[in-house]
């Protein structure tokens, strides 16, 4: 029923008007899909996209130097050489800020754009699947999470259970990638069909009350389930259809193969994919963890962006990457941290690529230690509203019904020049 409202959102121009005098020019085509790489726990901004080599050992530890990128004037962390070679394909926001240092409230504002308190708003993936019509809905869900949900808050928010993400479970780095309920190990299609016949024959209650609304709902869900179990759309999860070279390029680990699975899902018409990439909450053993994680991130993310680009999908696919906050730029050498970084919501970085966002740019800046935003603060709602605009969804649009009736999709933004919507990245 709710899906019936979508025709009203197809109007980039109207959205721009709603936004301010300084209008956002309509892009050639609206973005169609989003890949969100969620660095769960909060990555260090200074070790990734906002390095401060001049700040010294107490800030940089073993990462004393930064590295040049293929865009003159942009330098990033030394553990990201593959991303450094393609900085023209993405932009960096160095002035993200919300000043919240608790995981749950920071995750909430970063994923919904709303401050906590009052109704629980849906995460961006649920917002997009609610508002954006799909060209070929097929059997694949609109909003897919690789591989598990966070459980910090209910992602569907007030939109209700039908807007929950589908999370795959399983591990894409293993063969087969056992996506719960879709790919089963060692059951042939013939066996699936004979068991289905058995189920129908032995379903005494279902056969006694076929027109009961609950029973009918079961039959409908079962039909849909078998279309996926026995159909061709499940092939999207079959990563062995990719060449070894491609699989290697993404990195043979859970994150790398999740990026590859995300690209396949984009090709298959899924609208919003979140990769929940765990392990960034490094209060202790920060650098040994980063030595392992940053190369994984570098490989998987650079492969995803360049592969989407090669396939002509980057123009219509937004890739954004970051966590709920950054980490304290000054290293905590003392016990119990022993070289750790704590939560830091005052200033942190995000990467954004594709879907009509410009590459090769840096938005905002932090001070000499990466501790304070000194230019062009970007609030979560600014970033999320910009993404929605590129998808053709007006962030000022109001919910037509339900508990949030009359409430806007995103909170109002500042319309002063150099604030709010990321116009500098939206040519």
């Amino acid at each position: 029923m709710r899906r019936m409202f979508f025709p009203v959102v197809l109007f980039i121009a109207g959205a721009a008007l709603a936004f301010s005098a300084e209008s956002v020019p309509a892009a050639k085509s609206a973005a169609k899909a989003v890949v969100q790489i969620w660095l769960w726990g909060g990555p260090s901004q200074t070790d990734t996209f906002d390095p401060k080599p001049a700040a010294g050992y107490d800030y940089n530890g073993p990462y004393a130097t930064d590295i040049a990128t293929d865009v003159s004037g942009i330098r990033i962390g030394q553990k990201l050489p593959l991303l450094a070679a393609m900085a023209d394909k993405y932009s960096i926001i160095r002035s993200m800020t919300h000043a919240i240092n608790g995981h749950e409230t920071a995750s909430y504002i970063m994923q919904t754009g709303h401050e906590s308190g009052g109704l629980v708003y849906p995460s961006l993936g649920a917002v997009v699947s609610y508002w954006k019509p799909r060209e070929n809905p097929g059997k694949l869900p609109a909003y897919v999470v690789l591989t598990e949900t966070q459980g910090r808050f209910a992602e569907e928010g007030f939109l209700g259970p039908m807007y929950k993400p589908f999370y795959t479970g399983g591990d894409p780095a293993r063969t087969p990638f056992l996506v719960e309920g879709i790919i089963a190990d060692g059951i042939t299609d013939a066996k699936q069909k004979s068991r289905r016949d058995l189920l129908h024959a032995m379903d005494t209650l279902g056969n006694a009350a076929p027109s009961d609304p609950s029973i009918a709902a079961f039959s409908k869900a079962e039909d849909g389930a078998y279309q996926m179990i026995l159909g061709t759309e499940r092939d999207v999860f079959n990563l062995s259809k990719e060449s070894d070279a491609t699989r290697d390029m993404y990195g043979r680990n859970t994150f790398g193969q999740s990026c590859l699975a995300a690209r396949r899902l984009v090709e298959a018409g899924v609208t919003y994919i979140t990769i929940n990439y765990k392990g960034w909450d490094t209060h202790k053993q920060h650098f040994s963890t980063m030595n392992q994680k940053l190369p994984e991130l570098d490989k998987g993310l650079s492969a995803l962006i360049s592969d989407l680009d090669k396939k002509g999908l980057l123009d219509t696919t937004i890739v954004w990457c970051g966590g709920e906050f950054g980490r304290t730029p000054k290293i905590l050498w003392e016990a119990p941290w022993g070289g750790g970084r704590n939560h830091f919501g005052a200033a942190f970085s995000y990467l954004i690529a594709g879907g009509g966002f410009s590459g090769g740019k840096v938005v905002g800046a932090t001070d000499a230690h990466g501790e304070k935003v000194i230019d062009r603060p970007v609030y979560p709602k600014d970033l999320l509203s910009s993404i929605l605009l590129r998808l053709g969804i007006d962030p000022a649009k109001e919910y037509p019904d339900g508990p949030a009736k009359g409430m806007p999709v995103m909170p109002p933004l500042s319309d002063k020049p150099g604030t709010g919507i990321l116009r500098e990245l939206m040519p």
């Binding site: 808050f153 039908m162 869900a221």
Partner: protein, 523 residues
């Protein structure tokens, strides 16, 4: 003209069918022909309402259906095969009411009733209420103790409305913390939703302001203890124009706790809001829908023709001293509750009356998890976003006994466990969807449960000369009833055609029965 003709035709059809319903032959193994119980006082109210609509009582459910149904509704647990065997073999005339009486002494009753209350009261460590683990444990303990001692529901509500003090030491203080905001208006909104089942938008602006006034004194302060918080009463914040939702102005002495004045009004026996909200929810839990809907907002409900049932139960409930067990027993012992779930043909109106049958619905996420884990010998793997010590649940603990809404499992998320964001009954989803169905039909978890089931291990290995006994045992373990002769014959025919080994055929049967509506639903 056409419309009138239609109405006449429909009512004629319904009255013809009502004759039929009594005469149709019972559908085995779900129904019986003869009522094993006499009508009770509730039936005395419901029967005339049915007759008015041209209907009569549906057929009675069978004993095997009854024990499973009442176990699932009161204990959130499927009965063991031995319990079903004993009940079906029992020849006492009052065996159904004796069974009902015995259920309230069991731990599962306390767990399942506490689960419902914890949903309502938003018991959850993390976002958006942020009760935090220590306080969740204290709060949940208090709730389950109240259920165990059968505290009157009026005392229960009153204690929570008067909660003050440290969230760790005074469990009831957490009522004022389990809210998305800490303003008098949000407290009032939560109070209306929780104790009156009235949505904020269903109250007039004057009622909202008047209700919020009772809570202007509620304050919060932190202590030096991590995450400890004290709910206080600020003597300086004087309520102005406190007004009860019925429009009457409240007189508040300067020294009184305005919350107590509100609580006195709320639980006064003549107050329809409190008891109606409670009995409508009980009916929802037991029968599958509210007597009036939406069950979360009686302010928006139109009870046309349904008031007599609601009023009767509300007055019985108040008259019993708000005894929740007595209310449950009144409903459970009625013929209305013990009707078949298979609707007599023809009654397919878009808004069926809430008492023409027992509604078929999918098991709750927690209940289904427990049923599958018991069958499969598996244990839920829980997680929590917060590094809290209470995430480590002993393997023997039932999922229905989980206290904290922030401790979850992928199964519970998939099967519609409520978010506990607002405490609405609609936050729980028992609707089946394709993703759940794929999980049930085709996941590795389910495969493992069926292949490695400790309950079915012996049955899988029965020798070839005991095929019938094998089928009987698989039915007994999964559906808690013997198979019909026709089911044995049908399965023999199908498995012969499939040419699989006897053991494989037995596993296929187990798979089919676990995926049958009879197993997955309350019915």
């Amino acid at each position: 003209m056409r419309r009138i003709a239609g109405v006449v035709a429909v009512s004629c059809l319904l009255s013809c069918l009502s004759l039929f319903a009594g005469e149709r032959s019972p559908a085995e193994p779900f129904e019986t022909a003869v009522w094993p119980v006499a009508p009770n006082a509730l039936d005395g109210v419901i029967s005339p309402l049915m007759a008015e609509a041209g209907l009569s009582m549906n057929l009675p459910c069978s004993d095997a259906v009854f024990i499973r149904r009442v176990f699932l509704d009161v204990l959130g647990t499927t009965p063991l095969p031995e319990e079903v065997d004993a009940f079906c073999a029992d020849t006492r005339k009052d065996k159904r009411s004796s069974l009902i009486d015995s259920l309230f002494d069991r731990d599962e009753y306390v767990e399942y009733a506490s689960l419902h209350l914890a949903d309502l009261l938003r018991v959850k460590s993390e976002f958006p209420d942020n009760l935090w683990p220590n306080a969740v444990q204290a709060y949940y303990r208090w709730i389950s103790d109240a259920v165990r001692s059968n505290m009157s529901y009026a005392d229960f509500a009153r204690s929570l409305l008067l909660g003050s003090g440290s969230n760790f030491r005074q469990p009831t203080a957490n009522f004022y913390r389990a809210m998305e905001e800490r303003t008098p208006e949000t407290i009032a909104k939560t109070v209306a939703r929780t104790w009156m089942a009235v949505g904020w938008n269903s109250l007039s602006p004057e009622s909202r302001a008047g209700l919020a006034s009772f809570f202007t004194r509620v304050g919060y302060k932190k202590t030096l203890e991590w995450k400890e918080e004290i709910v206080t009463l600020n003597p300086a914040a004087l309520p102005v124009n406190a007004r009860f939702p019925d429009g009457k102005e409240a007189t508040l002495a300067p020294t009184s706790d305005p919350r107590a004045v509100f609580a006195d009004w709320l639980v006064a026996p003549g107050n329809p809001w409190f008891s109606r909200a409670a009995v409508n929810r009980a009916w929802f839990y037991l029968m599958g829908s509210g007597i009036v809907e939406p069950v979360d907002d009686l302010g928006a409900a139109s009870p046309a023709g349904r008031s007599p049932a609601l009023d009767f139960l509300a007055s019985e409930f108040a008259g019993s001293g708000y005894d929740m067990r007595a209310l449950y027993k009144l409903i459970l012992n009625s013929r209305t509750y013990q009707q078949s779930s298979i609707q007599a043909p023809g009654i397919t109106s878009s808004s069926p009356l809430p008492w023409t049958r027992y509604a078929i619905r999918r098991l709750d996420a927690e209940v289904l998890a427990d049923a599958l884990d018991r069958l499969g010998g598996t244990v839920e793997s829980y997680y929590s976003a917060i590094p809290e010590p209470f995430t480590f649940i002993p393997p023997s603990a039932r999922t229905i006994s989980l206290s904290d809404g922030s401790v979850t499992s992928s199964f519970l998320m998939r099967f519609g466990r409520p978010s506990r964001d607002l405490g609405l009954l609609s936050e729980r989803s028992n609707a089946i969807d394709e993703e759940q169905m794929r999980y049930l039909l085709n996941s590795t978890d389910m495969k493992k449960r069926i292949e490695q089931s400790p309950a079915l291990k012996d049955a899988y290995n029965f020798p070839p000369d005991k095929k019938d006994a094998q089928i009987r045992e698989i039915y007994r373990q999964i559906l808690a009833r013997p198979p019909l002769k026709s089911e044995i014959a049908l399965f023999a025919k199908l498995s012969a055609a499939a040419k699989s080994s006897q053991k494989q055929a037995a596993m296929d049967l187990a798979w089919a029965l676990v995926n049958s509506k009879e197993f997955l639903c309350k019915h």
